[in-house]
Symmetry: C2
Subunit: 335 residues, 2 copies
């Protein structure tokens, strides 16, 4: 029997959907606006409409086993949004599964957006050949996703792997979560900009730096890509900023390795377009904050799938949910 899954990755700007086979082959890639500013009900309506579009493109829902959804925030086992998702006003409290079942007769599975990206990388990308994998996604914030024995680990109420809020400096920068010194304040895209601005105030290097001039002249005229473009050119102040950023990120990575001892830790997200320089610098700092054998045996790699990781993970989530149900049925039968 042909088995297909619909995968939908819910982003702040766009909803992205595919129809996927178990091996990851997919078709009908479709993007529609999320319209987050119009509130949670509108977002849900757009999500439901996108499912309809994908079913129509596929020519019917007969072979579709279910819908997998990746969403910002925390989603519990019953598909209810229980928290997070600050960029989606009115999204908390939304019930995801019932309207999909009612309108299309399809089952659904859901997880946090970084968690589904981790599953995508684990199944089809940088974690293809390992059992246990952690993804840290460096973007507007820092998110985490954990795959254990090939399956997503959600934690209670879908809240696992808030890795961006690991404390790396108890007296550090104030974070919008209420805590101080969260790694997200230093190594997310806005964090890198923040570090560059702060370091520019005190930087004492004497070699000419184009980036330093740029930051001092116009503290709002650059972003994290500007910083890493200058790192690539060997700009001395940019290299200094990279050390500070990766020094803080190295604390968090060391802690994550001590906690999970995954076969592989993957760094992904928009910031990682900078590539190997971040992996290399972080890898120099991590051993200071990590049990030596763990550091030796856990690999740190770049993500491979870019923005496709999420939607592929959403598809995989559907097939995993079906297998789990099968396992539970066979355990029941054994009794």
């Amino acid at each position: 029997m042909k088995q297909l899954a619909i995968g939908i990755d819910l982003g702040g700007t766009n909803l992205k959907g595919i129809v996927m086979e178990p091996g990851g082959r997919h078709r009908h890639l479709t993007r529609v606006p999320t319209e987050a500013e119009k509130g949670g009900k509108r977002v849900l309506e757009n999500l439901l409409a996108l499912i309809g579009v994908l079913i129509e493109k596929e020519g019917g829902s007969e072979a579709i086993r279910g819908v997998g959804i990746g969403t910002p925030g925390f989603v519990d086992r019953r598909g209810v949004m229980v928290g997070g998702a600050a960029n989606l006003p009115g999204w908390v409290g939304t019930r995801l599964f019932e309207p999909i079942r009612e309108r299309y007769g399809l089952r659904a599975a859901a997880a946090n957006d970084v968690t589904v990206a981790a599953l995508g990388e684990a199944r089809f990308g940088a974690g293809r050949d390992v059992r246990n994998m952690v993804l840290m996604a460096l973007g507007t914030g820092i998110g985490g996703g954990v795959v254990i024995d090939g399956r997503v680990y959600n934690g209670t109420h879908g809240m696992a792997a808030e890795l961006g809020h690991i404390t790396v400096d108890v007296n550090g920068l104030q974070c919008n979560c209420g805590a101080r010194g969260c790694v997200e304040q230093y190594a997310s895209a806005p964090g890198i900009v923040r570090v560059a601005r702060l370091e520019a105030e005190s930087y004492a290097g004497t070699t000419h730096s184009e980036l330093l001039t740029l930051v001092r002249d116009n503290a709002h005229g650059f972003d994290s890509k500007t910083v890493y473009d200058h790192v690539a050119r060997g700009d001395p102040f940019a290299l200094h900023v990279n050390e500070v950023v990766c020094g803080k990120l190295g604390v968090a990575v060391g802690i994550v390795l001590n906690c999970f001892a995954p076969d592989r830790l993957i760094l992904g997200g928009g910031v990682m377009k900078a590539g190997r320089v971040i992996i290399d610098t972080v890898s120099r700092y991590t051993p200071r904050y990590c049990w030596p054998e763990i550091r030796r045996r856990c690999e740190i790699h770049c993500a491979q799938l870019g923005e496709d990781a999420g939607v592929l993970g959403c598809g995989a989530l559907v097939f995993d949910a079906l297998t789990e149900e099968g396992d539970e049925r066979s355990r029941e039968a054994d009794r």
Copy 2:
């Protein structure tokens, strides 16, 4: 068919063994000296002899499905000691499974000693009613154990949950692992003594403190129990030491909650004989280092089983390994 497991908890001083039923009922509790100082081969010989004693007490090995072992250090999936276990010279490199199969025809399963204690608490103690649980055991060091969906999580090469080496202060006390500011330096039994000594040098409180006099007069004449006995009596310096200890422990607990978002975090180990005061103080600090919703929804409890957690977890490990094999067989059959 009657099903029994042998559980053996390998400690630095004693090997402790039981014969256990699936529900946790057990008999023939036997302790023999580990003789760690005589080297890894002798320890293995003592472990094998203990298995023989338990089989004899049971009157034969017919109903025994396997042997579960909890050991200091890291043990991989094939039962090979791959690291850690500093107190057991010559233990690394030991192969645990083959000699048990050869001498007794029994299968074996093994995990880190704190990991099996976590499984014991999860199955029969403080985590009985939850899916996901993390144990932090505060003793000579600080160890961690993780149970996910009711099963132990070992990480690569059995190294998961080195929670004692979470960095809580990058400029903090030097740890014997090579890093600085590991939580173990502050909140293990020797860590609490260390904090008391250091704080006694600078403490400026003017109310009379018996503990302060004791520490200043004889810096080696007290232990962590002395500190917490004085906490119980309201000694002002002891209360101050408790705040410092739990302040550091609170950072690590917050980080662990952010990483795993377990249903429940359990604090155990000898230090926790001090009881609720540590839970209460840590619970005041943790919200500073943890995503607010996670802190609200994850409970922090005391361990319930004391020193029995380990050996009960060893027994449970055997039954879990058998179930997993069953699951894998039924998945194979489905294909």
